[in-house]
Symmetry: C2
Subunit: 176 residues, 2 copies
Amino acid sequence: MSRIAVLIGERFEDSEYTEPVKAFRAAGHEVVHLGLKKGSTVTGKREGTKVRIERAVAAADPGDYDALLIPGGYSPDHLRAYDGPVEFVRAFMESEKPVFAICHGPQLLITAQVIEGRRVTGWRSIVQDLKNARAEFVDAEVVVDENLVTSRRPSDLPAFIEASLKMMGVMVGQSA
Amino acid sequence: MSRIAVLIGERFEDSEYTEPVKAFRAAGHEVVHLGLKKGSTVTGKREGTKVRIERAVAAADPGDYDALLIPGGYSPDHLRAYDGPVEFVRAFMESEKPVFAICHGPQLLITAQVIEGRRVTGWRSIVQDLKNARAEFVDAEVVVDENLVTSRRPSDLPAFIEASLKMMGVMVGQSA
């Protein structure tokens, strides 16, 4: 089973955290919450879901995790103002391990400068940013490009979760 | 005196609306609130400031206004998901009339595709987006490039307001 880093900050989109995490745990995967400050609590923008940060992302080793989940909402905008989250995302993408980003999640990929030439989707407000980062934007409920799974919005969650679980199954199978 | 369009949506950064508008009115300028829906009320993210939208931006004529103010916060991210605000900003920039954008405000300029080759600043989370849009990013409290005035954050407001008022004085003087 995989150990999944969830990179999360203030005012995340609740369902883009709760639903994948529920499905990942149900499949037997372990989830670890990374954020700006260990021991702090971040809150969802819509339903007020509380998440306790277990480890500061600046002190986390990407090598300790098998996959990375980046929920959307305003969380990615908060996180990408700091070096720690951006460097973690960059290292993770360079390791070619699975990365799952939804809604505003790809904003972190832009700041980390890791999506040039990659096929991605994301929330409609960031489409021009994705194109300017020289990613290939695709308007689909889920886009899978090698290690990267992206979706646009909460209504895409079933396809996003299915593709993410499938990728971890494949990756675990490959490395076993 | 100038008639200033304020393009504003949900969860704007309160001070980036209240302080420029107070200064503009004190200098004798008129302010008109444009947003997604006429008659709706939008709310500031920090202090809960309420602003009533006087005119739908999709129905507004850029020719009716002498200058454009774009406050930051999450407002620009909300607005740029729709064609009306993006087209208004594009038309306004093409008219070469004064545009004042602070914090996340330049996100609307990115989606409108009007900042290639322009000298700008903005909130640190959007720096890579500005560079990817081929703008020249400058880390300064205020950047003035022809008709465009940009600043980074609330603490830059005094310089932002001073440069904006000065530009309107110059522009009004030129057209008089």
